[in-house]
Amino acid sequence: MLKENIIKKVLDKALANGADFAELFVENTFNSSIVFNDDKTQNNIVGNDYGAGIRVFYGQTAIYAYTNDLSEKALLDAADAVSKAAKSSNNIAAIDLIKKDIKNIHPILIPNNTISKKDKIDFIRKINQASRNYSDDISQVDIRFLEKDQHVMIANSEGLMVEDNRNYSRVYVSSIASNGTEKQVGGEGPGRFAGYEFFNSIDPAALGKETARVAVTMLHADYAPSGKLPVIINNGFGGVIFHEACGHSLETTSVARGASVFAGKLGEQIAYKGLTAVDDGTLPNEWGSENIDDEGMKTQKTILIENGILKSYMVDRMGSLKTGYDRTGNGRRQSFKFAPASRMRNTYIANGQDKFEDMIGSIDNGIYAAKMGGGSVSPGTGDFNFAVAEGYLIINGKIAEPVRGATLIGNGADALLKVSMISDNMEMAQGMCGSVSGSIPTNVGQPAIKINEIIIGGRK
């Protein structure tokens, strides 16, 4: 992407005022999306994201600049700007770059650009048709078909020089059911760090039908109850509870400032004793996987919580500098337009030993959250919320009528201790996680879990 001697010059320039560390991140990304709605292919757009970000550290001060101009002059100007933003008396010797080859643990079998647009649109049409065939209640189907091929080069003043390719494939489907006055939505967004083999692995008709089923079920559902109730949160996207209630508060971005409810709690019991949680970038071709993070470190599997005991935070380079913990390969960013920060990869609660039926059977009056929507958290207070996309009442140990419109709220530190049963059916699901370093692909996951008591914001 860039000549080695230019990379070296840029890093040298960035260090010229005595910075402790300098890093160059260069990106060339191909994006493509097809937007289909109202039974028609509406908009096709392809594009090229292209630029570089330069970061230097002076002590615990990080200075970051980016530009779309990869000419030697523009890069040297940017390096000059970051170097002049601060000054110290350090004098780091000239850098020797050592090009490091990385092992690709996420092979791409069928590059997306080898498949015709017509085939992709045929695939989309099958989803659309299956959804509409499911019920006359389906009034609209929106589908977005996304491909991304990100090529990155990372070099730093420790001599690192490494390149990587990340291929992402995803399809979002949302079906709307309407009875004239009311509308309800069912959505799915499967994706993988993979090429077209991912789309080949999906049954488009089943995908369309599933989104329609949820929309129609919710259209005919009554509103959820209000108050404090026990809840079973199903596997897959249910893992968003851990992501929001706990994951963000284990990122050094909030831990380092002491602003996290879990700061200073390593080795302490912070969750139900049967709960083990993992953040793993090594899972082959998973949506949140990587070969290296966006600071050039080889990815790894990080045990966050083991049997309820807090074992590790998620640590990026600056987080490591501030907290003293070793980096965990969690330095991630949306693009060169963001400085990296500690972020999640594939984050999930590991399997437990309880049987799903026993969990449902243990509740006289509660809620079964079959599918979750998104959520958010305020890491400083630990307050989180997330929405139930497909919910049911549990009455006398049995799943009963569907209910809609419920949001669950709670406090992370508190909710983890109120988990009382964990099933053995772990599954993951895909999401885009937004935070300080932009919007990045992450997997959430869990087996079904039981939480003894949580506030449910329904309307009855």
Binding site: N43, N44, G47, A65, Y66, K183, I455
Partner: protein
């Protein structure tokens, strides 16, 4: 700016595409964040991008690039034309003539562009310092940030349209965490302006600190239906979350609750909602939209009656009306519709009057989960919230995090009164405090 690139793209596209439009965006931005009176981070950005939109036989295709090499500029034209072939969108045309806008909001300050970086750092440091000093219960200041930026955009098409615009802005925000009796609460305050002298670090910091300490030691909410006041910031948040109900494209696709309701009552008498591109105090002001069409003040709801949707030229043609100048796209995106300065007009009551109108009122000052707990298609919402219990006009106590749920359209019908304390949020949505007859509270 970038005349050479524009010429090359038009020349290359000539004969291949029936019509071509080029959107250029060039910007710089800066931000500084403080931690413990040290600069935690400096960010400088220098960005540019070109997006092309072509029409081939009435079908539209898009492509963009951030790399301005001549080869790449040609490739994006080819890509856009290829994309148009697979589009099934309705017949798209550019207008023969794009009217001028007689009003041109002033969106650039020469003075702001001259502020020294040392002043900016001093301001951000002062935010943190005053926040910590404001109250001994403030134990952490996770945000003490100043930022500014400048954007130049140019839009030209093969019908001869060529318009450009330069805007700048500056903002500061501070976030505070307060702690007492093991309870932690967060507060935030911000200002966005083009006049650097308007930043009052002490005022912003003390306001944020007060917001967080006021919420400490909450009592549980009593679940049930209650009269609710959304404060001005949270009303703006509600309004922006459901702004897509006015989007004419979604109306035409049957995805808006306001479909078929033109001329009908959709809110209480006291509610007037407008989208005003031309407001001098707005930060989404512009004389023309992303299609080059002149913008205007559009009255969407007047005294509770639905008067207009938000249009671009494509949806306007379908509805046989004029565009409202709300065509929106960035160089990386496709043409859609968005709000500009979007607001509910202030009412006559002061806040004290508003909050005294019922024996018991729950005031909401913080909302969480807008992207997951609110559904703009159904209008249903169930959101995490924080706030206070008021009894007979007296604030009794703060309330532990609770949920508020209802339906946006019903809520607008149930608006009982609007206060006079109008405020824009960071994203150009504006509102005053609003009293709603009843909503479901769960705690």
């Amino acid at each position: 700016m970038y005349n050479k690139e524009f010429q090359k793209i038009f020349e290359y596209a000539k004969g291949k595409a029936d019509e071509t439009e080029i959107l250029l965006s060039v910007g710089t931005s800066f931000s500084v964040k403080i931690n413990e009176q040290n600069v935690e981070s400096f960010n400088y950005a220098d960005s540019k991008g070109i997006g092309v939109r072509v029409i081939v036989k009435g079908k539209v295709g898009y492509a963009y690039t951030e790399n301005f090499d001549e080869d790449t500029l040609n490739i994006i034209v080819d890509n856009a034309i290829e994309n148009a072939k697979y589009s099934e969108s309705d017949d798209v045309v550019f207008l023969d003539k794009y009217p001028e806008n007689e009003q041109k909001p002033n969106v650039f300050s020469e003075e702001l562009a001259k502020v020294d970086v040392k002043e900016k750092i001093r301001l951000a440091k002062a935010l943190e310092k005053y926040a910590k000093a404001a109250d001994k219960r403030i134990f952490n200041v996770p945000y003490a940030v100043y930022g500014d930026g400048k954007n130049f955009s140019r839009l030209a098409n093969s019908k001869g349209l060529d318009r450009s615009d330069t805007q700048n802005y500056a903002y500061a925000y501070v976030g505070t965490l307060a702690q007492e009796n093991n309870d932690k609460r967060m507060g935030m305050e911000f200002l966005i302006t083009r006049d650097f002298n308007k930043f009052d670090a002490k005022k912003l910091a003390e306001s944020s600190a007060k917001k967080s300490t006021d919420l400490l030691n909450g009592q549980p909410a009593v679940s049930g239906k209650h009269p609710v006041v959304f404060n001005n910031e949270m009303m703006a948040t509600m309004l922006s979350t459901f702004s897509s109900v006015f989007n004419a494209k979604l109306v035409q696709e049957g995805k808006s609750l306001l479909k078929g309701k033109m001329g009908e009552r959709v809110a209480n008498d006291c509610v007037t909602i407008v989208d005003d591109d031309l407001r001098a105090d707005g930060f989404s002001s512009s004389a023309f939209d992303s299609e080059g069409y002149p913008t205007e003040k559009t009255i969407l709801v007047e005294n509770g009656i639905l008067k207009s949707y938000l249009h671009n030229t494509i949806t306007a043609r379908k509805d046989k009306v004029q565009s409202t100048g709300n065509g929106a796209r960035g160089y990386k995106g496709t043409l859609g519709i968005s709000t500009s300065n979007f607001l509910i007009e202030p009412g006559k009551h002061n806040v004290e009057e508003l909050i005294s109108k019922h024996d018991k009122i729950i005031e909401i000052v913080s909302l969480q989960g807008m992207h997951s707990g609110a559904n703009p298609i159904s209008g249903d919402f169930s959101l995490g919230a924080q706030g206070f219990l008021w009894e007979n006009g007296i604030r009794k106590h703060s309330i532990k995090p609770f949920t508020v749920s209802g339906n946006f359209l019903q809520m607008m019908i149930d608006v009982e009164a609007i206060a006079d304390n109008f405020k824009f949020d960071m994203s150009s949505n504006g509102a005053s405090a609003v009293l709603v007859k009843e909503l479901n509270i769960s705690g």
